[in-house]
């Protein structure tokens, strides 16, 4: 019997709590005092440049590798003391295609299902669910090495659903697939979260995907969590109105500086859509009126998550070593 099932389900309470987590390889610090909590039933997008520590963090959370120090509790279980109980709640879908290509989809599902302790009717039932979830009905008896990239990704995800996980870790689940398969995978992830209240930790380099599926977003860089917010909050912060008023407009706004919520970038005036938005807009238009500046154009700017992420992580290239 899985003890987790006896717990009172309380959506919104932290299901995963990471405190002061540190990990290093060969004296190189990979995770540095990571603190993070994930709400039960939410989808958390985990963003970070290459080598930021995303896969290491997930590997520790799934019990694949150990931590140097810190504390992780999942559903009340301490990872350091009771990794088996935590692993029984989770499923990990690696970014690599982690199955056997010389076997058929059915044979793969049978094998991984049996490792979860499934057998007989229950195994068949779960396999049926996963085949449907991966939309693999027509190819289930075929060898996987004949599959397209999208079908392989769907099978990778389907294997991860065999044990009805409470927590699903998805490491870049849509890499290298066509738009249709990508859309299908994202739909499936949302459906699983919606219908089964599965908590999902999702890493991807595609910002639009993260924006599309996540409830909350954490950004990790150089082994540290540098941002963890509700997606909506981040996007609200990212919203701004852009005014074009030429050099005269820029000079006029400079007289207001420094002022929180107003920035000048390349002859454009950015006014953040924050709590001071109305006040800032009024101030800018007042100074324009006083100086006789005409507004050439006004765009309700929506800074993308990608732009926001790049700014947050300092734009520079991150080549893993």
């Amino acid at each position: 019997m899985r003890p987790f099932r006896n717990l009172v389900i309380c959506y919104g309470a932290p299901l995963i709590k990471i405190e002061h987590l540190c990990k290093s390889y060969d004296r190189k610090i990979v995770l540095d005092d990571v603190n993070l909590s994930v709400r039960r039933g939410s989808i958390m997008g985990l963003l970070g440049p290459n080598g930021a520590g995303k896969t290491t963090l997930i590997s520790i959370l799934t019990g694949v590798i150990g931590m140097d120090s810190g504390k992780i509790t999942v559903g009340g279980f301490d990872l350091g003391r009771d990794p088996g109980s935590i692993q029984a709640l989770c499923s990990y879908v690696p970014q690599t295609l982690a199955f056997y290509t010389r076997l058929s989809a059915r044979e793969n599902l049978e094998y991984f299902g049996s490792l979860w302790g499934l057998k007989g009717k229950k195994l068949k039932e779960r396999m049926g669910f996963c085949i449907d979830a991966g939309s693999l009905q027509a190819f289930v008896g075929k060898r996987v090495d004949t599959f397209s990239g999208g079908m392989k990704r769907r099978l990778n995800l389907a294997i991860g659903l065999l044990n009805e996980p409470e927590i699903l870790y998805l490491d870049e689940p849509t890499v290298g697939v066509d738009a249709q398969s990508r859309n299908y995978i994202l739909e499936t992830i949302r459906k699983i979260n919606r219908e089964r209240k599965t908590t999902i930790i999702y890493t991807s380099h595609y910002m639009d995907e993260i924006e599309q599926v996540s409830d909350e977003i954490a950004v990790i860089d150089e082994g540290r969590i540098i941002l963890h917010e509700e997606k909506q909050t981040i996007l609200t912060h990212a919203n701004a109105v852009l005014l074009g008023a030429g050099q005269r407009g820029v000079e006029a706004v400079k007289t207001l500086q420094p002022r929180e919520g107003i920035r000048i970038e390349k002859e454009r005036i950015h006014i953040e859509r924050d709590e001071r938005f109305s006040e800032n807009m009024a101030a800018v238009f007042a100074v324009f009126r006083d100086r006789g500046v005409r507004v050439d154009d006004m765009v309700s700017g929506h800074r993308t998550l990608e732009e926001f992420f790049l700014r947050l992580t300092n734009d520079r290239l991150r080549d893993e070593n």
Partner: protein
């Protein structure tokens, strides 16, 4: 039970669907056993009392040729088949080819007269030997020596008969002089290490040798599968499913023990049933099934442990294939697989003891050749199990250090 069943099923399917693995594990040793058992038959038969067929044509009308034929029929290494005395040389050649006989002996018309004449009076050689060119010189020499020996004995006896009155007068028993026909040379094989030794037949050497070689060849498919699993993240996925490192290793060992067992059954079956069908001698299995299982298990355990060690050291399948292939060939060449140990010079026989394949081969020969009991292959089995255990411990230590597994 379900886990074990599906793990076995998975590994069997992976092997069965891998053409290269099937070739290396089953086709290659089967072909080697067939080729070596048949090609080396005559070479190995030199050491045995296995009869070599010889056609015999007696064109002589005298009584000495009958005595000669009676004498050579007692030769243990040859079996003589008489042909019509009028058969022409051309027909004899055809009979040799059609019957697959390598030798034909022609006793010429002047045989009896040449025996009865004294030395120095011979004009023509009284015996002619037709030889198939594929016969090696050594076998030919053995037959020639045997015929010369019998001819000399016959000449000696004829001479004794001719001087019988003088011998009687001198009080010498003629029959006593004639009786010393058997070889006075006692032969003992001296084997390095001093243990009891019998020379194997071609099939007795080939089957265990290539069986051991092929069992060790599982290092290639096993290490390749393991490295692919690691590279594709399957091992990480399994580890995240709370599958322990020990279970991962057991999940590899058990199916491959079965695969090695199937190899043993197939190769022994080829030695017993298929090789004789093509004209070779059948493999004799000895009397100890327990001993056979023990040595087969030990070889398998050692080979699997080596495969896992290679898989934990190599980073790519190419590296594993190269390391595994080269090691196997060195072990095979050194361990008496490719060149039988008993034909090696002394220092090479000492060196061959370094190869685990040599231990496995000796263990099998204890059972097949020396009719050993279950305890006979015990020293070799223990050596293989200890080496396998050491490699397994090293593998676990190496895997612990690797973050992927």
């Amino acid at each position: 039970m379900t886990k074990s069943f599906y793990t076995l099923k998975k590994e069997f399917l992976l092997i069965a669907r891998d053409v290269h693995a099937v070739t290396v594990l089953f086709v290659m040793p089967a072909v080697f056993i067939m080729i070596m058992s048949l090609a080396m038959r005559d070479l190995f038969d030199l050491h045995h009392s296995v009869s070599i067929d010889v056609l015999a044509v007696n064109r002589d009308a005298g009584n000495k040729s009958d005595a000669f034929l009676k004498a050579i029929e007692k030769l243990p290494a040859f079996r003589f088949h008489p042909l019509d005395k009028d058969a022409a040389t051309e027909r004899i050649g055809e009979a040799m080819h059609s019957r697959g006989v390598k030798f034909a002996l022609i006793i010429k018309e002047n045989f009896s007269s040449s025996i009865e004449k004294g030395r120095g009076q011979e004009v023509k050689k009284p015996i002619e030997l037709l030889v198939d060119p594929s016969v090696n010189v050594q076998t030919q020499m053995v037959l020639r020596s045997a015929l010369d020996g019998k001819l000399a004995k016959l000449k000696g006896d004829t001479f004794l008969d001719s001087i019988e009155p003088f011998l009687g007068a001198a009080g010498i028993d003629k029959e006593e002089l004639k009786a010393t026909e058997d070889s006075q040379v006692a032969v003992h094989y001296i084997y390095k290490g001093g243990r009891s030794f019998k020379i194997p037949s071609a099939v007795q050497q080939s089957v265990p040798a290539w069986l051991v070689f092929s069992m060790f060849f599982i290092v290639i498919p096993l290490s390749n599968t393991f490295i692919s699993e690691r590279g594709q993240g399957t091992l990480m996925r399994l580890k995240s499913m709370n599958v322990s490192r020990l279970a991962l290793i057991a999940g590899k060992m058990v199916p491959y023990l079965f695969i090695n067992a199937i190899q043993a059954v197939v190769m022994i079956g080829i030695g017993v049933y298929v090789v004789p069908f093509f004209g070779g001698t059948a493999l004799t299995l000895g009397n100890s099934l327990g001993g056979l299982i023990l040595i087969a298990f030990s070889v398998s355990f050692c080979a699997i442990a080596l495969a896992l060690l290679i898989a934990s050291v190599a980073r790519t399948t190419e590296q594993a294939t190269t390391i595994g292939g080269v090691l196997n060939i060195i072990f095979g060449a050194l361990g008496g697989i490719m060149v039988p140990r008993f034909v090696m010079p002394g220092f090479m026989q000492d060196l061959s003891l370094l190869s685990p394949m040599s231990w496995g081969l000796e263990g099998f020969l204890d059972i097949f050749l020396r009719n050993g009991s279950a305890s006979d292959p015990l020293p070799e089995s223990l050596s293989l199990l200890i080496l396998g255990g050491a490699m397994l411990i090293l593998t676990i230590i190496l895997l612990r250090r690797q973050k992927e597994v």
